[in-house]
Amino acid sequence: MPTKEEKIKSALSKLMEITGEEGAAVVSFDGLVISTELDPKYDADKAAGILSEAVRTANEVVKTLGHGEPEQMLIEGTNGKVVINRNRKKNFFVVLLGSPKLSLGLARTTIDEVLDELEDII
């Protein structure tokens, strides 16, 4: 019987199959790492803190607009890409980091699937 941690890692591994990925992580809304598959070049704790700050800010900004909560955040830069999806029910988010080669379309759909899977585990 796989442990909770193994189940989370298994879900995250789906993201690791996407070309151009550089790691993924599950982070609680308050910035604590739940699970990480990030490339060692990243400081996972620091990244989790900074990313959760971005999610919180996005949440506040969208609230001022009066239109619910953010569903997805995508960042596409000259050197890299970031996809963040939040699960509101369980208050965590999944982040996928990638190189410019990362296909955002595939990343978005896969991250949606992973998020659904994680909702049952976490």
């Binding site: 070049k41 990243y42 400081d43 620091k46 990244a47 803190g49 900074i50 990313l51 700050e53 971005a54 800010t57 996005a58 506040e60 900004v61 969208v62 001022t64 607009l65 009066g66 239109h67 619910g68 909560e69 953010p70 569903e71 997805q72 955040m73 995508l74 960042i75 596409e76 830069g77 000259t78 050197n79 890299g80 890409k81 970031v82 980091l97």
Partner: protein
């Protein structure tokens, strides 16, 4: 309609106006027709043969003297005091003779309306240039100062009040005049606390179009002799062109363009309560990614998708921020915006403002 707009705009800008009529009994009627255009915050100063009914109106200040030099000095002092914060004055001089034009009004460069039986030749003899002349019932109007270049706001107000009751007319005109007056003083105050201020910034915080802001500066200058325009930066021409072209994309609700932290372009296409400072907060978060070794590069797109609206921030030489209505394919909108940016060469080096 055109004449009414000219009179309204001239009074609002404190231009000098002469109403010529041969019968002094017409003064009262003419005054009551134009009174609606005189901002209520102005101090009214009546001179000359003031009709009885006008003498007793609320807030009337009567200033008369047989010594025309003293009278001129007193009126001149009242206008000068505006520079030190006194409310702007509006002089209404009744039954003005040639001597009064020569000895009193010729030296006052703004803020007076004369009621006279003198004709245009007398005005010309006194070095007054007549920029506009048109007939009214029982007389003529001579505009001694040029009609302001942009009178679209005045035209719009006159069109709006057409066929309305006197009360509604007064409400609409006075509300706008007071709004402009208060906005000028608000801008003055804001300038005391900020090193740099842009029209886009004012447009957002005062919820006014740039055109209206220019009107505020212009009227404020006429009322206080204080020219605020050198202290407020215009948006670069390319940015204005780009913002105008955005109106063709129906999904765009709001666009804001920053040069570092300065808002240099702002356009709101739908009613929306949203402070552009929020864009800067999001931008800061993205820039902080590098602190954790997440290198996305100097140029990036950030999109935040929500249920009904999407937010897009594009960081390049400037930071372009947008709010879109959900509807059209997001990728298509981005590509349309990119095309517009390219068409006005926004990716080239920054324009010097």
């Amino acid at each position: 309609m055109k004449e009414e707009v000219f009179i309204f705009s001239s009074i609002w800008h404190r231009n000098r106006i002469v109403f010529r009529t041969d019968n002094i009994e017409n003064y009262e009627r003419i005054f009551s027709n134009i009174r609606i255009f005189i901002p209520i915050y102005r101090k009214l100063i009546f001179c000359g043969d003031v009709p009885k009914s006008i003498k007793y109106i609320k807030g009337a200040n009567i200033l008369n003297s047989n010594d025309l030099l003293s009278l001129r000095n007193a009126l001149s002092d009242s206008i000068d005091e505006e520079e030190y914060g006194a409310p702007p004055v509006q002089i209404l001089f009744f039954n003005v003779t040639e001597t009064i034009f020569t000895k009193v009004l010729r030296d006052l460069d703004r803020g007076w309306i004369a009621f006279t039986s003198c004709d245009a030749s007398i005005l010309k003899r006194n070095s007054f240039h007549i920029y506009e002349k048109f007939p009214i019932k029982d007389g003529y109007v001579y505009l001694i100062d040029p009609v302001p270049k942009d009178i679209s706001l005045e035209r719009m107000i006159i069109e709006n009040i057409n066929n309305k009751s006197e009360g509604i007319k007064k409400f609409i005109i006075q509300m706008k005049e007071n709004e402009i007056y208060l906005a000028f003083h608000a801008i003055q105050d804001e300038l005391k606390t900020k090193n740099k201020i842009t029209f886009s910034y004012l447009s957002e915080i005062l919820n006014m179009r740039e055109k209206t802001l220019k009107k505020i500066i212009e009227i404020g200058k006429r009322e206080t002799r204080m020219d605020l325009s050198p202290y407020i930066e215009d948006s670069p021409k390319k940015i204005i062109k780009f913002l105008k072209s955005l109106s063709f994309i129906k999904e765009v609700s709001l666009a804001a363009i920053f040069n570092e932290r300065d808002l240099i372009g702002y356009a709101k296409f739908r009613e929306l309560e949203f402070s552009t400072v929020n864009f800067l907060r999001l931008k800061k978060c993205i820039e902080d990614f590098s602190k954790a070794g997440i290198d996305i590069g100097e140029t990036w797109y950030f999109s935040l998708l929500t249920k009904n609206k999407d937010i897009l921030i594009f960081k390049d030489n400037y930071t372009f921020c947008f709010i879109f209505e959900k509807g059209m394919n997001f990728i298509l909108i981005i590509s349309e915006i990119k095309n517009l940016m390219e068409s006005v060469n926004l990716f080239e080096e920054k324009e010097i403002v």
